[in-house]
């Protein structure tokens, strides 16, 4: 590989220190200074010394980064003035890279003090890392092959070892053909069918024009003799012509059927094999390959790319052949009939093809754009569907609709641009064809009238051929036809749109601006489906500012109760009131503003961390966001990410752990500052340490609010003022902790069970 030769200036300095090139253990280039600018440098490690050379004056040079073209220029002219600093290797206590956001620094601990030796972009990180490994005496493989052996360029992605320049499209095309190999015989048969069909298509205008008009209708005796039919018997000749025509049509139909059957057989096989191969290869690739790509993108690759490739081979490739053949043959025949008229027909086409060729890259860009727009719409929808419960409980349906608007608009614009382009294509092609066929008719009639080597039948045959050109020419003009596809999706979308929401806002909904937070349920019965009741006759009173704990086995209906209070569903019977007002009469906006939920199901949407925290209060300032995060114990992990509160998370961004997501949703609830807070297994999915942390934040959070807390772990409900036990949709026990304990019922049993489990957990011998 190409590497920097030690510049003469540096050699001279080293010489003064009596160091020769052979004594150098490792050298690493650096390209920045600690002030945050580009500046070239070289770190050189020998047995005794560590040198750092930095150019005294910033040289004006082009900065090349990985993957970019000629590296030769990069190492040209390194003759500059150098400033040198040096350190005794014996006194270096530690040497490490300190990563910044998009660059790094090399730090050494030298005689007890940290020194920032050099700064460098990520491009140089690899070399510096090697230098440190050399200093530590750790072995490493000599040099990874990150350069294409054919052209000497760097691989843009060393995980795939694919040189984009050396694997061009041609080889990809040829490589795809290997999947058709098992179907060689069928392919040949299909090709014969195609060619035969195209040939027969060519005969058609000849039969309907010249044979019918110029031979039979014009009573041409020579024609009868050639066919061996009795003199004057034109009826038989006509009969024969009609039978031939019929035979041609039937044969054409048969050929099409055979072709269709072959295609169907091959497509499924080829697609299956391609998908299998892609899957196998993806399994083999290292994780770094996945890290850099979106899951959505990979899914497209598996699901639809194979389809698209074969689609091209079956829907386009054969027709390029057929249509090319038809054009060529038709034109040949046309030239033989009348060359002047042929020229008139074809006059405009070179110009048309030139236009298409010119517009080609533009269309390419447009399709790429649409693909991306589609992807972002899909992720937004995906995001939205998985988080439906949280969206509703924070009353952000409108915001979500807004969020959808953006990518949707992008997609719309992309589609419009494509349609515009395609329409222009069609218009130009259609127009040119019309003009050509008018000109042909005009010229033909002129030839006919002036009696110059032209009969009516010949003219009809000729225009028949002109007509036959229409299809193939049109084919070359439009390649992508998305009509059926889009209609299909539209139909599916309307199905959803036509559905009517079950929970509706009352027309004369009341405002509830500053509620106290008294909640009461009166004889509430509810079932998700009509024949299965989940809650039966629940009556509960939760005074403002108190905390209610709900205990019960999974599936007992705990979550259903809070779903009803935040009005994600309406009870079948009974009534739920806040401050004495039926929640059905409270307007959605106020209800949701005052009832916030932290549940085990966290919703993180695409956007920055700050946006996610400010979900329930989009107008929140940065200080408020920071405070909420701090109180939720989220600030530390957020600051651990390079882009901190501006980090993009969600579908396409950084992945968050369960505890991190949970803390963001707590910060969200703190910021939303609701009067009524619902904690639905808020700490169920995190470890004990995180739980304690979250519990601390929650303790802060519940102050001055009416809280309903659902938990499996009874320890979570330590601070509850009142507890209810729910079993099979009914309240079976209720009271304070002490009261329930004395009852010796379900609560007591659960408590005993969990205490036992806890003791077992802490027994030292249980591990062994």
């Amino acid at each position: 590989m190409k590497q920097l030769k030690i510049p003469e200036g540096i050699k001279a300095i080293l010489m003064r220190e009596e160091i020769t090139e052979s004594q150098i253990l490792y050298k690493a280039e650096t390209d920045m200074d600690p002030e945050g600018s580009y500046r070239d440098g070289l770190v050189i490690l020998t047995e005794q010394m560590l040198f750092f050379f930095q150019e005294t004056k910033r040289a004006e040079r082009v900065h090349y980064f990985k993957g970019y073209g000629s590296t030769r220029e990069m190492y040209a002219n390194w003759e500059r003035d150098w400033t040198v600093s040096q350190y005794k290797v014996l006194d270096i206590e530690n040497m490490f890279i300190e990563p910044q956001v998009a660059c790094s620094t090399l730090t050494i601990r030298y005689r007890g003090i940290d020194y920032c030796i050099a700064a460098f972009s990520n491009f140089c990180k690899h070399q510096v890392h090697r230098l440190i490994m050399t200093w530590e005496g750790r072995p490493f493989e000599v040099e990874e092959e990150i350069y294409c052996p054919t052209c000497g360029r760097m691989y843009p992605d060393s995980a795939t070892r694919l040189c984009p320049r050396c694997t061009n499209r041609k080889t990809a095309f040829l490589r795809a053909t290997k999947y058709f190999k098992p179907y060689r015989l069928k392919l040949v048969l299909m090709l014969i069918c195609i060619l035969a069909g195209a040939g027969l298509n060519l005969v058609w205008p000849y039969l309907t024009g010249m044979v019918l008009y110029d031979r039979i209708l014009a009573k041409n005796q020579d024609f009868l003799i050639r066919l061996g039919i009795a003199h004057g018997d034109f009826v038989t000749a006509l009969f024969l012509a009609v039978v031939t025509m019929l035979a041609v049509k039937i044969t054409l139909l048969l050929l099409q059927i055979i072709q269709g059957v072959f295609t169907a057989q091959m497509v499924t096989g080829v697609v299956r094999n391609m998908e299998k191969d892609i899957f196998r290869v993806m399994g083999k690739l290292s994780i770094s390959f996945y890290k850099n790509r979106q899951t959505g993108g990979l899914m497209t690759r598996v699901m639809s790319d194979a389809d698209r490739v074969t689609g091209f081979y079956f829907d386009c490739a054969p027709y390029i052949l057929i249509n090319g053949f038809i054009i060529l043959a038709s034109v040949t025949v046309m030239v033989r009939i009348n060359w002047q008229m042929t020229i008139v027909t074809l006059l405009l086409f070179p110009a048309l093809f030139a236009i298409s060729w010119y517009l080609r890259p533009r269309i390419w860009v447009l399709f790429g754009k649409r693909h991306r727009a589609e992807r972002s719409v899909n992720s937004t929808v995906n995001d939205n569907l998985t988080g439906a419960r949280v969206i509703k409980s924070f009353g952000q349906e409108r915001l979500e609709a807004e969020r959808y608007k953006e990518p949707n608009k992008g997609l719309l614009n992309a589609e419009i641009a494509i349609s515009r382009q395609q329409n222009a294509f069609h218009l130009i092609y259609g127009g040119a064809q019309e003009i050509a066929s008018f000109a042909v008719w005009g010229l033909g009639v002129y030839f006919l009238m002036s009696g110059k080597n032209m009969n009516l039948g010949t003219l009809i045959t000729f225009t028949g051929y002109v007509g036959q050109l229409r299809g193939p020419m049109g084919f070359f003009a439009r390649v992508y036809n998305q009509w059926a596809d889009s209609m299909n999706s539209a139909k599916r979308m309307f199905e959803i749109m036509d559905a009517i929401p079950e929970v509706k806002e009352a027309p004369d909904a009341l405002r509830l601006e500053k509620p106290k937070g008294d909640i009461s349920l009166q004889n509430v019965t509810f079932g998700y489906t009509e024949n299965k009741t989940v809650l039966k006759d629940i009556t509960l009173k939760i005074p403002a500012g108190s905390m209610l704990g709900i205990v019960g086995r999974s599936g007992a209906g705990k979550t259903t109760i809070v779903n009803l209070i935040s009005r994600l569903y309406d009870p079948v019977e009974g009534q739920i009131t806040i401050d004495g007002i039926d929640i059905k009469k409270i307007c959605f906006h106020d209800l949701r503003k005052n009832v916030a939920m932290v549940s085990q199901e966290t919703y993180i949407f695409m956007g920055t961390v700050a946006d996610n925290i400010a979900y329930g209060k989009p107008e929140a300032g940065r200080m408020e966001i920071f405070r909420a995060a701090k109180l939720a114990g989220a600030h530390e992990f957020i600051m651990g990410m390079p882009d901190a509160y501006d980090t993009r998370i969600g579908a396409s961004g950084r992945e968050l752990s369960g505890g991190e997501r949970q803390r963001i949703s707590i910060a969200r609830a703190i910021l939303a500052n609701p009067k009524i807070l619902i904690l639905d297994e808020a700490t169920a999915s995190v470890d004990t340490e995180t739980e304690r942390l979250i519990q601390k934040s929650i303790n802060y959070l519940v102050k001055g609010r009416t809280t309903i807390s659902i938990a499996h772990r009874l320890s979570t409900l330590r601070d509850a003022d009142y507890l209810v036990v729910i079993e099979q949709g009914k309240i079976t026990e209720q009271g304070t902790r002490d009261e329930l304990f004395k009852l010796h019922g379900t609560y007591y049993k659960l408590l005993e069970l969990q205490t036992k489990a806890l003791t077992i957990e802490h027994l030292p011998c249980s591990e062994g």
């Binding site: 920045m32 600690p34 002030e35 945050g36 580009y38 004006e60 082009v62 900065h63 090349y64 980064f65 990985k66 993957g67 970019y68 073209g69 910044q100 956001v101 998009a102 660059c103 620094t105 730090t107 030298y110 003090i113 940290d114 020194y115 920032c116 700064a119 972009s121 990520n122 491009f123 990180k125 843009p156 992605d157 984009p164 320049r165 694997t167 061009n168 790509r293 979106q294 860009v365 754009k369 940065r622 200080m623 920071f626 405070r627 701090k630 114990g633 600030h635 530390e636 957020i638 600051m639 882009d643 901190a644 509160y645 501006d646 993009r648 340490e689 304690r692 942390l693 601390k696 802490h762």
Partner: protein
């Protein structure tokens, strides 16, 4: 019992985590260290080395800075609400640290963008000179921070920024068309 001990320590740490301390020019002294870093003394405490980070690196350059200790157990010492309110020397010192940490050349002119086989090759002029870099298509290499503002990450995750697409020439915007 060690369990108990850890518990109380943890409680203490949690309490600490929930507290906010503001750093102002009255309660702090920032100094450059011999090794080129920054030290801090605040009240009774002193730190040999600190680092400064932005809470909102894309949105707030000088406001909401988090000053943190260095090392494996790096924790927040306090926050600076607005750098402008600090001593002149401190501003210079910390701004230098921030410039290095968030080093991102700003693209002033786009000479060419070529897309080939899943990678885009950029030839641009930045406020730090001419740069040529490669980004991967189809990943998260191009991020729209706002409608106009674009952040590019090359295949080594070096960053480049286009602060305002609207200020590019129409020809440059056409080169960018694929990413807009």
């Amino acid at each position: 019992m060690p369990e108990e001990f850890n518990l109380s320590q943890m409680e203490r740490e949690t309490e600490e985590m929930l507290k906010i301390r503001y750093l102002t020019k009255h309660n702090t002294v920032f100094k450059r260290t011999e090794g080129g870093f920054v030290s801090l003394s605040v009240g009774e405490e002193s730190y040999l080395r600190i680092q400064v980070m932005r809470m909102f690196p894309f949105m707030e350059k000088d406001r909401f800075l988090s000053v943190r200790s260095v090392g494996d157990k790096s924790k927040e010492i306090g926050i600076i609400e607005d750098l402008e309110d600090m001593e002149k020397e401190t501003i210079k010192l910390l701004r230098e640290q921030l410039n290095l940490r968030y080093f991102t050349p700003v693209i002033t002119k786009i000479r060419s963008v070529k897309e080939e086989y899943g990678f885009a090759y950029w030839d641009v002029i930045t406020d730090h000179g001419e740069c040529r870099f490669t980004i991967q298509m189809g990943g998260n290499a191009v991020v729209h921070l706002t409608e106009e503002r674009i952040l590019l990450s090359d295949i080594d995750e070096n960053r480049f920024e286009i602060p305002d697409v609207g200020r590019l020439t129409p020809a440059e915007r056409r080169k960018l068309d694929l990413f807009l």
